[in-house]
């Protein structure tokens, strides 16, 4: 299946391992990622631009949707935040055609027009809805047996559910658990799995952000998790990058690897850890990988 591929800023910036592992995994799942139509697409605004000027963010997202629509392809994202921000914009366009018509006037100069047909879809949802869990299972050559993984969704892929189509797609609610099970790992449930990682307030109130990192990673650890897996690169940046500082705050080691969704899939598909760039994490994934090698 072919998608217009919108990788988002972070996968091409501070989390290159997300980009690399997505490419590896997509190939094996028969997903064709076409970046060409998205070459000129801008940032979604990540909710930050929206707090300054929502219409501005919506116009940029309508522009991206129009590009995918023009190419006649469904739109794939690999970031929970991109998913949420795009879904919210998409809902506003659906609810208010007059608003979209106004926005289209600002796109006309570029020869673009958004008709309203694009449904942005995260790789996580695409696997369940378009590709099929069975196809994923068929690609698993090294089941992650014995590995205990705590899902961490990221706010924007779970809330507000009305904008994310949960009513029509109830399977989205536990999508991460479904793929964790499909690759043979054990799901470690914990309260923090749908809470905020703290990333948006990192530069505003770092202490609060660090407390969130500490709470979630320590809760997952307390419940026996070997690692956390996330479909959101922003959550990854915070939970991985700021984990040493959070550990310092709590004066106790945490050492909880935070792996990206496609890295987990890739491990189960037997893809080389280096190709998945599992060495590009601040919290080492070495123990996780050696446990996997040693697993019976």
């Amino acid at each position: 299946m072919k998608y217009a591929f919108y990788p988002g800023c972070v996968a091409r910036g501070a989390a290159p391992e997300l980009f690399a592992s997505t490419i590896e995994v997509a190939r094996r799942l028969g997903i064709e990622l076409d970046y060409e139509p998205m070459r000129g697409a801008s940032c979604t605004g990540a909710g930050v631009l929206q707090e300054k000027n929502q219409r501005l963010g919506d116009t940029l997202n309508a522009r991206t949707f129009a590009m995918a629509e023009k190419a006649g392809l469904p739109l794939m994202v690999i970031c929970s935040t991109c998913q949420g921000v795009m879904s919210q914009a998409s809902k506003r366009f659906k609810d208010d055609p007059a608003y979209l018509a106004e926005i289209n006037k600002d796109l006309a100069e570029e020869g673009l027009q958004y008709k309203g047909t694009v449904e942005p879809k995260h790789l996580l949802w695409a696997i369940i809805e378009d590709i099929g869990i069975d196809k994923l299972k068929a690609q698993v050559v090294k089941p992650l047996k014995g590995m205990k993984l705590a899902p961490f969704y990221g706010c924007y892929i779970v809330r507000p559910s009305a904008a994310l189509g949960f009513a029509e797609h109830p399977e989205r609610e536990d999508s991460l658990e479904q793929v964790i099970k499909a690759v043979g790992a054990e799901v470690v449930d914990f309260r923090g799995k749908t809470l905020c990682c703290g990333f948006p307030i990192l530069t505003i109130n770092q202490n609060n952000a660090l407390k969130m990192v500490a709470n979630h990673t320590l809760e997952a650890k307390g419940n026996g998790a070997d690692a956390m897996v996330t479909p959101c690169p922003l959550c990854h940046l915070n939970l991985d990058g700021y984990q040493p500082a959070a550990a310092g705050l709590r004066k106790q080691p945490i050492d909880m690897p935070i792996i990206h969704l496609p890295q987990m899939l890739g491990m189960a598909m037997g893809i080389e850890p280096k190709a998945l760039k599992l060495n590009k994490h601040l919290v080492s994934t070495k123990k996780l990988l050696s446990d996997l090698v040693l697993a019976p």
Binding site: A14, S42, A46, N53, R55, L56, E110, C155
Partner: protein, 320 residues
């Protein structure tokens, strides 16, 4: 038709010799269309008179019965039992609302909640001569406040606020939504003072945009949406020297310039390069990232067609 329901209720008795919370299960028969509140009242009336809960109107008007069900804040009266019964047959988990101290069982202490509401001065502060009749406002100027005036002060948003969980100083979603109700009222003469106050620590910029309040609000108040609108108003009013404001402005500037997020420059622009204290705080993560080869491009190229993005910025910003 009736259904067989098991409730697992988190209880707390302050009068016990050693007060500590514990869970208690109740198995009840309920009519199919019953609410969660119907179930709890049945338990209290027919099985265990010691179970304490607060409720009154049973119609989602009074805001008394907010509590957590399966980890999420709801009004017990407008939650159908059927909708919260786990598919695997496990009990319905009922707990008191979060972020407020428990008085007894499902009753929480609202003192902090009301303290925060009072802190935003939830009354109209008009200026000028007192009119003969009422302070009038045109209908259309009040439309955007209709939703926020629907708040019933149930505390569901406060219960599930992820910032309040780590920082009791945060005003929280209910109080900030209430603040917006007056900031946005054309009859109020203190919009600027209010905005200035609300940009301080604990105010609008401490919200982490997690949307829990949007999700759990039973009345569609959209507290986070109101907080975002206040941020916009504060920036427009020139209150832009907090880290929150600087972050929003830096982010906007960088997207206008390159079309994408420049992760390297965002914190530097937010804090200011001569802000030694914050630059030093960034150093450890900068160095660790460098060590694993995880540094964003130093000089990222603008996206193709960036002039179109810049034109959109100009056009849309000019419409404000």
């Amino acid at each position: 038709m009736t259904m067989d329901v098991t409730l697992n209720v988190k209880r707390y008795n302050p009068d016990a010799a050693k007060p500590a919370s514990y869970n208690q299960e109740y198995r009840i028969d309920l009519e199919d269309g019953s609410s969660l509140l119907d179930g709890l009242i049945k338990v209290r009336e027919e099985m265990d008179g010691t179970l304490a809960l607060r409720c009154s109107c049973r119609s989602a008007i009074c805001g008394s019965c907010a509590m957590r069900v399966n980890g999420r804040a709801v009004l017990a009266c407008n939650t159908k039992m059927k909708d919260v019964m786990p598919k695997d047959g496990s009990p319905v988990k009922v707990e008191p609302a979060g972020n407020m101290g428990v008085v007894k069982d499902l009753i929480v202490n609202f003192d902090v909640f009301w303290g925060k509401i009072k802190a935003v001065k939830p009354w109209l502060q008009p200026e000028g001569p007192v009119p003969q009749g009422e302070y009038l406002a045109p209908n259309e100027a009040m439309l955007h406040l209709a939703g926020v005036m629907g708040c019933i002060m149930c505390g569901a948003c406060v219960s599930d606020c992820t910032v309040l969980e780590v920082d009791k100083n945060f005003l929280g979603p209910a109080a900030l939504a209430k603040a917006y109700r007056f900031v946005g009222d054309p009859r109020d003469a203190h919009e600027k003072d209010r905005l200035k106050d609300l940009t301080k620590y604990g105010g609008m910029w401490d919200c982490t945009r997690c949307m829990q309040c949007v999700q759990v609000c039973p009345k569609g108040v959209d507290p986070m949406g109101r907080i975002m609108k206040m941020r916009d108003k504060a920036l427009a009013a020139g209150y832009n020297n907090t880290y929150g404001a600087r972050h929003a402005l830096a982010f906007t500037d960088l997207v206008r310039h390159g079309g994408h997020l420049d992760e390297l420059r965002l914190p530097i622009k937010t804090f200011g390069i001569f802000n030694v204290k914050e630059m030093l705080k960034l150093a450890p993560i900068g160095m660790r990232s460098q060590m694993v080869g995880k540094v964003p491009p130093l000089f990222p190229k603008p996206i193709p067609g960036i002039q179109n993005v810049r034109r959109i910025f100009e056009k849309v910003e000019a419409k404000r």
